[in-house]
């Protein structure tokens, strides 16, 4: 009988009742290519399945921007001196990153159930790769904003160096809530209906078609409502985009940005904590 030596005998896997804690993040790093491959699969499949493929990534935001700008013009919503199309697109694009990320991530585990019950990998990869797909869409959709800026001959100032910071803030908020909702959707299928409702609600309380100036400078809105309004991390993200790209007045003061950072990090922390907690049961209950 042949009795060989293992090639990878330094690798040792221990399986225990409560999962193994320490090596988790190391393992995600080891499986990082899988994030890329799952993301690549989703983009590729959409491109093959739909007639206009990647054009959807442009068409959806364009239509939203057009409709919102028309409404804004119709109801004379104050743009505080900016071009309406620029104001609306700088609000729509990050919002779409957040909302589609949330939507895709929350359904990602359920729609990849066949993978979860048949093969092992750190489950966190599934919602994360769903969000990366939305990031790809977002980067394509940014071309719209670039086109509009060229049209209006608007060049960003030095503040543009802060743009990545706001993008990271958006990604952390999306990932945190997306991961949390994905785990909740596996455990309680009701969240399938809760998520679209949450997104719809968020759509109305985020400064997409209007400027936060209308909220912050309004005398009719009490202070505690303004505080709750600022808890929405997308307020800081959207106003940050407008400020760093369009040289808008910076409406979301740094305290608001700091507050949003805390909210985003807490979301990411709670999301990961809850996900890790229920992850070991996924294959049993999905």
């Amino acid at each position: 009988m042949t009795r060989g030596k293992p090639r990878n005998d330094h690798v040792e896997i221990v399986i225990q009742a409560h999962g193994n804690q320490g090596a988790y993040w190391k393992e995600i790093w080891r499986y990082r290519e899988l994030i890329y491959f799952l993301c690549w699969r989703d983009v590729l499949v959409r491109y093959k399945q739909t007639a206009i493929g990647v054009m959807w990534a442009v068409l959806r935001p364009v239509l939203t921007i057009v409709v919102f700008s028309s409404f804004g013009a119709l109801f004379h919503i104050d743009t505080h001196g900016s071009e309406r199309l620029l104001l609306v697109s700088a609000g729509t694009l990050p919002w779409m990153l957040f909302s589609s990320g949330l939507q895709e991530a929350s359904m990602s585990l359920v729609s990849n159930a066949n993978l979860l019950t048949k093969v092992y990998f750190p489950r966190l990869i599934v919602p994360l790769s769903a969000i990366f797909v939305c990031l790809v869409d977002f980067l394509i959709a940014l071309l719209i904003l670039a086109g509009l800026m060229i049209y209006y001959a608007k060049t960003p100032g030095m503040d543009v160096v802060f743009l990545p910071m706001f993008l990271i803030l958006a990604l952390f908020s999306t990932a945190g809530s997306g991961v949390l909702l994905s785990a909740l959707t596996v455990k309680y299928r009701d969240f399938r209906y809760v998520v679209p409702f949450l997104i719809q609600l968020g759509f109305f309380v985020s400064p997409i078609g209007f400027s936060s100036a209308d909220v912050y400078s309004s005398g009719r809105i009490p202070g505690w409502v303004k505080f709750i309004y600022s808890l929405n991390p997308m307020v800081a993200v959207i106003e940050g985009f407008r400020w760093s790209l369009l040289r808008d007045r910076f409406l979301a003061q740094w305290t608001v940005v700091g507050l949003s950072g805390v909210v985003a990090l807490s979301l990411a922390f709670i999301g990961c904590w809850y996900f890790r907690k229920v992850e070991i049961q996924f294959a049993d209950i999905i």
Partner: protein, 411 residues
């Protein structure tokens, strides 16, 4: 340096079966209702929870390079064991140590996407199974050659024949650089030639010093592939040893004298289900020992819970090695709610001596809703009363004893 590749210690997996629950996920409403109820009743009446021990204190260690077959009836815990070793489900108690890289093949083509081409799916499937991009690139040509799909590399796999699909999927796994390979009955698919090829490949893998764990119902494949065996029954480890001994224990444990079998009520709501199976000799007496070349009958009692339009009941005879011998079915007909009995008379074909299993299926419009295998079995005994044409009556002359007309002419 120890030479143990897989060490399992007191492995236990308990499932909680919730009563009256269709589907296996929880609705938030139920949780809230339960919480509310237990609040009002002070937690005195806990919701009814039944538990099932899918694995019960299983311990074993497998040295490097061994090829181990895990056998047992349906529900014995084979798949649960493999899923724990693959890290898909976590055990309720116990501990497993695996040395080296593990690859598990629980299904053919995990992660394959029908819209993607063969080429794209090789990369996707490889990544899902834990291969790096460079590794897949290096192995790419070998994978394609082994699967014999060169010409269809850029065709979406949804246009593949099922044989091509299986070949490609198996080929990716066969080229994994894993030290421990966990395989569920996937070799049962694909055509005979490819089955032979993949069995050969698996043996090679074992020969290269890798450790293989193989779960199957097909005793023939298990015996050809493995050198050691573990027998599970109802979650417990019953026998361990050389594969031939373990297979013999398994075959002998199948109860031979029993002729009436009760089938458990299915947990989920179904249009109908088999309640009992009875094997009768030609005089109508329940007997699981049928003399060769004598007719026998299978009596199936079943319950129908809703009116059906296109009902069919089918019975199959399968050898203990897992080879189907014959399948017969009733004419489609509508059925009202109620209890029924179906009588299958096997009086036209004589089977060789040996043990056989019965498979019973109920279906509506070709969709099977209850399927019973591994419950009932019977034995064809050597005819001794002289009535049969008692020439050669064993497996060696073939499974079917009926003779055809043979004439010899001068030429």
């Amino acid at each position: 340096m120890s030479s143990i590749a897989v060490r399992a210690e007191h492995l236990t997996k308990q499932y909680v079966l919730r009563r009256q629950q269709i589907g296996n996920y929880t609705a938030l409403r139920d949780v809230l209702m339960d919480k509310a109820k237990s609040f009002f009743t002070n937690g005195l009446s806990k919701p009814a929870r039944e538990t099932l021990l899918a694995l019960d204190d299983v311990s074993f260690s497998i040295p490097w390079g061994e090829r181990v077959g895990i056998i047992g009836k349906n529900g014995a815990g084979k798949s649960t064991l493999l899923k724990i070793l693959s890290r898909i489900v976590t055990p309720t108690a116990g501990r497993v140590t695996l040395k080296g890289r593990v690859a598990s093949l629980l299904e053919v083509g995990t992660g394959f996407h029908p819209e993607l081409t063969g080429r794209e799916n090789i990369f996707l499937n490889g990544a899902v199974l834990g291969m790096s991009r460079d590794e897949i690139r290096n192995k790419f040509d070998d994978i394609v050659a082994f699967a014999e799909i060169e010409r269809f590399l850029d065709t979406p796999v949804k246009r593949y024949s099922s044989g091509m699909y299986v070949r490609l999927a198996f080929s990716v796994v066969a080229h994994l650089e894993a030290d421990i390979l966990l395989v569920d009955e996937v070799l049962a698919v694909g055509d005979a030639a490819f089955q032979k090829k993949s069995l050969g490949r698996m043996r090679e893998v074992g020969g290269e010093g890798r450790t293989v764990l193989f779960v199957s119902h097909n005793m023939d494949a298990v015996q050809r592939l493995c050198n050691r065996g573990i027998l599970l029954a109802k979650g417990k480890q019953v026998a361990t040893g050389t594969i031939d001994n373990v297979v013999r224990t398994y075959l002998e444990a199948s109860d031979r004298s029993q002729a009436e079998y009760c089938v458990g009520t299915p947990e989920e709501a179904v249009p109908g289900y088999v309640q009992a199976i009875r094997i009768e000799s030609d005089d109508g007496i329940a007997s699981a020992e049928i003399p060769s070349c004598k007719p026998f009958a299978v009596n199936v009692r079943f319950q129908i819970n809703q009116a059906l339009e296109h009902f069919i009941v089918a019975a199959g005879i399968v050898t203990m090695m897992g080879q189907p011998v014959r399948t017969v079915w009733s004419k489609a007909r509508p059925l009202e709610l109620g209890q029924y009995k179906a009588l299958f008379s096997f009086d036209d074909i004589y089977l060789a001596c040996g043990m056989y299993k019965l498979v019973i299926g109920l279906s509506e419009y070709e969709r099977s809703f209850h399927y019973v295998d591994d419950v009932a079995s019977f034995e064809i005994l050597d005819a001794t009363d002289g009535s049969a044409d008692a020439r050669i009556v064993n497996y060696r002359s073939g499974l079917i004893l009926n003779q055809c007309r043979v004439e010899i002419f001068p030429q």
